[in-house]
Amino acid sequence: MRELRIRDCVRGRGAVVAVLLGWSVLEAGQTFLFGFALAHALDQGFLRGRQGTGLWWLALAAAAVPVGAYGTARVFRGIADLVEPLRDRLVRRVVRGGLAGAVRAAARGGGQPADSAVVSRLTHQVEIARDSLGGIVMVLRSFAFTAAGVVAGMITLAPVLLLVVLPPLAVGTALFALALRPLARRQRRFLAADEAVAEECGALAGGLRDITACGAQQPMAERADTRIAAALRASRALATWGVARTGALAVAGQLPIVLLLVATPWLLSSHRITPGALLGAFAYLTQSLQPALQALLHTLATSGTRLTVVLTHLTSTPPPPPESTVPEPAGPPAAVGSGPARGFLAASVPLPGGGAPGEPAGPPLPDGVRGGRSTAPAPKGVVLDLRGVTFAYGVGAEPVVRELDLAVGGGEHLAVVGPSGVGKSTLAGLIAGLLVPSAGVVRRAGAVALVPQEAYVFRGTVGENIGYLRAHTTPALVTAAAAAVGAAGLVDALGGPDAQVDPAALSTGERQLLALARTYLAPAGVVVLDEATCHLDPAAEAFAERAFADRPATTLVVIAHRISSARRADRTLVLDGADTTCGPHADLLAGSPLYRDLAAAWAAATTGP
């Protein structure tokens, strides 16, 4: 998606432009008639004492006024045909770009994207583009057709008038065209400087408590001063360049009036012009040309720049997704097929080697995972196999996951604990295929469903939300899935599978319940709960985790928010940088100091000291 420019807004829309110009002819006709009728009213009517003829001519001009206005009204429809498709394009880009950016960031485990920025783009900036383009087309067209009407009128009255009018008009417009670029540059700088001030003030106002607490008033005031001073310079420069506009307007709009006066004796003496025609010519200059010129200069200098800036803003921001971050998913769950997780083991990738699945037995700190590279062969029946997996968020960044080996057997229940930022969500993303390891291999036997912490519930029915990951659902399936994860009461309270859901009216815990029910119904054999139950109370969390552990042919990986999740798991992976260990609860208590700390903190909190 390349950047949109102003000229792209009209390209390929010849038919629309033609209709627009067609209706504009009526406006040109009105302009033409005003001076023409005035001249004849005088020459043939009032100056000869024939009031009736004079009034008749003026009535003709008056009749042209509503006709011209009708043309103006129709021109707006043409503008709609030009502007609305652009608006559609921009809205599509903002939505697609915004969502793509958020999805990419989320896949990488980044924080929440700035909603307000996207909404401002959608509602505010798109509207600026829409209004500016409409305004520009309007005045450009209006100027062109007014000028055409004036020229036609002068040719009819006395072609020699053009000699007086056209040269200064051309010079003035050329002057303005020359000034337009520097003017636009200054306008752009002004907008940018003003935005910088607004941003700084926003940060200041939002951080007052912290600024006070840190005693940083002075440096912050100086920062704000710098930006305010820059904005002052920018607006001064803009105001100064505004003089160029006035100058151009004087040359193009006012100079012809003086020239016409100077030329009058010659025009009259050579009988090239009548008194009425002279009055008509003055009317053309002052009533028609000058206002159209003024509107043109003003609109081009302000809206033109604004439109360019906004178009650049709107269409250049989200860069196309780099290839490396495009996940290579284990097949979108919806496409995998019917029936919850039936037969997914049959489709498993052949894995080398043999050995027991991760049954909690053997040496104190055994199998699977190790900070260092393990050469242990992957056990049989393994559905998830990570071999020497390394992942870093940037070329220069330190890896978040380093040479991790992990094998999870079919039907196993694994918990993952560790300090936040240690890479738990990254691991979830690697398992789900959202992230591609920088080194090593991740093998999955079947589809993986990942349930993130921030549950997604959208405006729609309960059934649509719960059946989101499945091709076909029935109300009975929806109800059963809800009951399995402990969301039956919630679904009832909402009004059953066909009831509409308002996401904003649900608590975060309720949203998590719906997301869990959705995943229960998904055709995926591996379920990764990435702190997906953190807003549920411990009993509800235990119920939901047990539901997935008991789900037929399901391998469960729980990224634990609370240490209690580890107690329920067959094995627990303790991620702690180089000290990564994996084993059942009892072994970890004996062998992992970090796990001991955790368990102790947990015990202290539950039972008191």
Binding site: A73, A203, A239, I257, P419, S420, L450, E454
Partner: protein, 558 residues
């Protein structure tokens, strides 16, 4: 309005200049039609009109010059006022501190950014008012002086036509509402989907979501086209007014011409006076700007009226232990007395956890302890010195704060941690970050500590740890942690606690918390209830009390 009056007074010369230039410009605009008409009449009669033609040229040049001068002066004056008002508001806001954000941050930003710039435009807009009034009034008078029937025709025609136009201008509001509703639906769906981005990423349903969000787009287009149609009608109606008025006046003028009461030149002048007279719309616009500026200025004045806390001149004793004492402290928030003559002594070097129900006033207490707010009664002392008697610098050097939701400021992540009155050595920054368990994830960023903050979207827990790092990076005898570890997972919390209880053991620590585990580690727990300290004792002593245990609700949530 005070702020506008003040800036207007500082720019008095310019403001007078704008008025004078505006009036000059209006006078020239009124003189020009007469000169044009007179010159035309002379020329039509074949008389010498050189001087009058020259006068027309001169008047046009003067009109351009005064117009340009007025615009330039107004632009420069407004720019200067805007800068002045913003500087002043920002400084006042910084001096007043959190008190300034009484009505919410968003409201404050609107006042400092939008309202300040509207207010700044007021002196120039007000200065242009006399000219905006003089031109149309002068136009009508000049019309009457040219021929009284012309003025009559104008004054009779104007209200009739204006009424006609006004009736059509009203119809537009409802199409705008339809458009905004469709836009709002798209925005809502988009925001929902953005919140569920990780689910969408995992399920690979991005395309489906795009289609769902964009479903109201055709409706938006329909409403949008309706808007343009309505606007087109309104514009067309308005475009009828001025030409028809002109033609009416010209018709009357033509009849007067045919009876010899007017000349061709008079008719030319009259057609221009009609244009000037219809400029009454400009006056309405200018008045609107002044009224808007006045309202904006009132809102800026309210910010400037927020009291600034006074600071004393005292320094703290050199090696004081950092003993904190609250004596009969009362705090009122709205209609509620949150703290009611509360007494609390935190021995120097100890760690006291403040617990209590939500809304019991824990955060208010934390804010009072380091003078982020002043109590409504009573005194807060640090090492026996009342906080208001300390210099501002001494106070901020002595007290460090970490918050539940810290606002991070500064360009880079490193700047955000080093944030304070003076630059901080880099080792202090990394030391603070290590203690707060932030060093690890900061180093994983593309440019480490030099990563621009805008390029690093942090989670709530990460932001909290950067806030802690900021507090740990600077020395000071008192450290106040207001629920500053609430978003940390159990493991990180354990590690941060280790830093807090071992590495910073020499500092006095006051921390508010919801977690039993945190309370258990503190030397003493201050149990806040009904605006007083209900008990001050170690956690294991208090644990025997069922009411105390109930504070922590579901204890497994630690």
């Amino acid at each position: 309005m005070a702020v506008v009056v003040e800036t207007g007074r500082q720019d008095a010369g310019r403001v007078v200049g704008i008025t004078v230039l505006g009036l000059l410009s209006a006078a020239v605009a009124l003189a020009l039609p007469y000169a044009l008409g007179h010159a035309l009449d002379l020329l039509l009669r074949g008389a010498a009109a050189g001087w009058w033609v020259a006068a027309c040229g001169g008047l046009i040049a003067a009109q351009t010059a005064t117009g340009a001068g007025e615009d330039l002066l107004a632009g420069l004056t407004t720019a200067r006022s805007a800068a002045r008002i913003r500087r002043r508001t920002v400084r006042h806001m910084l001096a007043a501190g959190p008190r300034a954000a009484g009505k919410g941050t968003g409201d404050l930003v609107t006042r400092v950014v939008g309202n300040a710039s509207d207010a700044a435009a007021t002196p120039a807009a007000a200065a242009a008012l006399p000219a905006a009034l003089a031109a149309p009034v002068g136009g009508i008078v000049a019309l009457g002086l040219t021929d009284v029937w012309l003025a009559v025709a104008f004054l009779a025609g104007a209200p009739l036509l204006a009424l006609l136009v006004h009736r059509f201008a009203r119809a537009s509001a409802d199409s705008v509402i339809g458009y905004q509703n469709a836009q709002g639906r798209i925005a809502t769906l988009l925001v929902e989907a953005l919140g569920g981005a990780r689910t969408i990423a995992a399920a690979g349903t991005e395309e489906r979501e795009n289609a769902r969000i964009l479903a109201p787009l055709p409706e938006l287009g329909t409403q949008g086209r309706r808007m343009w149609r309505v606007q087109g009608r309104a514009t067309a109606q308005a475009a009828v007014l001025v030409p028809l008025l002109q033609l009416t006046v010209l018709a009357v003028g033509g009849i007067r011409l045919s009876v010899g009461a007017l000349s061709v030149g008079d008719l030319l002048a009259a057609s221009r006076y009609v244009l000037l007279a219809t400029g009454i719309g400009v006056l309405v616009g200018q008045l609107g700007a002044v009224v808007k500026g006045r309202a904006a200025a009132t809102r800026v004045d309210e910010v400037l009226a927020v009291p600034v806390p006074a600071h004393g001149t005292r320094q703290l004793p050199r090696h004081g232990p950092g003993a904190l004492e609250l004596r009969a402290v009362t705090a009122v928030r709205g209609a509620d007395t949150v703290l009611d003559r509360l007494d609390l002594t935190v021995p120097g070097g100890s760690c006291v956890a403040v617990v209590g129900r939500s809304g019991a006033g824990k955060s208010v207490l934390a804010a009072l302890a380091g003078r982020l707010a002043d109590p409504d009664g009573g005194t807060v002392l640090l090492d026996d010195c009342p906080l208001p008697e300390l210099t501002a610098a001494e106070l901020r050097d002595a007290v460090g704060y970490a918050f539940e939701r810290p606002a991070l400021l500064g360009d880079t992540v490193g700047d955000a941690i080093a944030f304070g009155p003076r630059p901080l050595p880099f080792e202090h920054v990394t030391r603070g970050a290590r203690a707060a368990e932030a060093d690890g994830f900061v180093r994983l960023l593309p440019d480490g500590y030099a990563t621009a903050r805008s390029r690093a979207p942090f989670s709530g827990g990460e932001i909290q740890r950067l806030g802690l790092a900021r507090a740990f990076a600077r020395p000071g005898r008192l450290l106040v942690l207001d629920d500053a570890t609430s978003s940390l997972d159990t493991v990180t919390e354990v590690r941060v606690a280790r830093a807090l209880f071992h590495d910073h053991a020499h500092r006095t620590r006051l921390l508010t918390t919801h977690r039993a585990a945190t309370a258990a580690r503190a030397d003493l727990v201050a149990w806040l209830d009904a605006g007083r300290i209900r008990a001050l004792a170690p956690h294991d002593v208090l644990w025997a009390d069922a009411d105390y245990r109930a504070l922590f609700g579901d204890a497994a949530d630690a």
